[in-house]
């Protein structure tokens, strides 16, 4: 995985990471403030439940503390590392859901500004998308989450996933085609 991401002050990230290894409270607070939104969107994009996405995002940061003690962990890419932890947290969640299929629907409205009809429609769309996306490969899900959930450029997504830009473009196109095929019945109805 390439370590530097455009738009991110890598040297600042490295400093934060070094301080975080010493469990420095200020550094850890900065890391949480800086990356919570990104990691939430990355996770929420793959789930249809914002409450669950928040729980899992919180879990990512707690697991990140354990990962800090791993000597084989990357030394300088904080964001890439967090995405890696988030990807494992989501995968663990899906494994758990597969074993225990009962999944509570979120009571929270998707968009607080939307009227009830719109909210219900958004919720349904999101659930349909999340259900369809769960059938994609892990790499396809990750590519879509980074490109459309996180709004990363092709280059940034390639760096996070450790792939070429061409590979990301192809992965993204095939994921869209597969998702579109699965969402077609809902769109027709």
């Amino acid at each position: 995985m390439n370590q530097s991401l455009p738009g991110i002050d890598v040297s600042d990230d490295q400093l934060l990471l070094a301080q975080a290894r010493r469990l420095d409270a200020d550094a850890l607070a900065q890391i949480h403030d800086r990356y919570y939104g990104s990691i939430f969107r990355y996770i929420a994009f793959r789930l249809s439940n914002p409450d669950l996405a928040e729980d899992l995002t919180s879990e990512v940061f707690v697991r990140f503390l354990s990962a800090l003690r791993d000597p084989t962990a990357p030394q300088n890419s904080l964001k890439g590392w967090l995405y890696g932890v988030a990807s494992r947290v989501v995968a663990d969640h899906f494994r758990q859901v597969y074993r225990h299929p009962e999944q509570a629907l979120s009571e929270r409205a998707v968009s607080p500004e939307a009227n009830p009809d719109e909210t219900a429609a958004q919720q349904l769309t999101w659930q349909a998308v999340a259900t369809a996306m769960a059938e994609l490969t892990a790499e396809q899900q990750q590519a879509l989450a980074l490109r459309f959930g996180e709004d990363l450029s092709i280059r940034e997504a390639a760096q996070v996933m450790g792939k070429s830009e061409g590979a990301i473009k192809q992965l993204q196109a095939r994921a869209i085609a597969a998702l579109s095929h699965r969402l077609a019945p809902m769109r027709e109805s």
Binding site: L23, A25, L28, A29, H32, D33, Y36, G37, F40, R41, A44, F45, P50, D51, A53, E54, T57, S58, F61, V62, L65, R108, V110, S111, A114, Q122, T125, W126, V129, L144, R147, F148, G149, S153, I154, K169, Q170, Q172, A173, R174, I176, A177, L179, S180, L183, A184, R187
Partner: protein
Amino acid sequence: MDSKLEAHLIICLDQLAEGKAVEEILAAHPPETAVKLQPLLATAVQLRHLPLAHTVAGQMQSKERFLNTAAGLRRKRTAFSPGWLAGAGGLWRGFRLAAAVGLLLLILLAGLILGSAPNALPGDALYGTKLTLEEWQLRRSPDSAALAAEFQAERRREVLLLLAAGRVANVTFTGQLAGSDADYWLVSDVPTMITTQTTITGPLGFGAEVRVSGQTGDGRVWAQEIVILAASPAPAPTPTLTPTPALTTTPTPTSEPATPTATATPTATATTPTATISATPAATATLQPSPTAASNQNDNRNDNASNDNDDDDDDDDDGGNDNN
């Protein structure tokens, strides 16, 4: 999806990301391709508009949990190892540091012991170490007899130091009985008291080598046991000194016949250069009288007549020496 449509879709998704409208993108493609691309682009647009906003409360709760967990880990880490150890970079690095410090202390302690032990006196904590070191030195020394004598002198020096300091200690030392006055003995230079409890083993005599075991106190050693290691050389000293005047008289007569023999040998080697081997007996024969002249001068005087007959050249040589 065929590869041609995939290639079109990749281009369309790039254009969508650049901000172009779906209609504008589709218009650039043939109708039959646009029809296939349209639902795919609609899905991409749908993904872009998924509302993915988190709540402030959720973020705050997550931050609190995150920092609390970190604080717990911090407490566990400081409880597990002292601050300086954690700062040094973990348990292994701390262990190595402790081992290095331990080794350094061990070296310093060994140096201190080895440096102080030679000055230890009987009764001191390091005295045993001193004796062990001496034993080790004796075992390794090529001249152990000389070293043993040195250590015996050291034992006496220790006793004298104890007496000078007025310290009470059990001692054992070896020395020569240099003098005695009733119960007061002088063993080498150590004043020693004989009491009714003192046991003496072996034939005692002036100059005998004795080993004394006892206790220091009141400026002397109170002997508990005296062992005679070697008897005294006995009455020999005075007679051994008397023969020396007799030796002084002898040199003059013996030297006269001895010297000529030395001058005779060069002539023998000069006359027969090839017969150097045959000449050597003559040379060795000439050397024999000179040692006898030095050591057994009285005997030489008795044999003078025969020497004169055998080696006339010796007389000449001796005469030469006399002249010198």
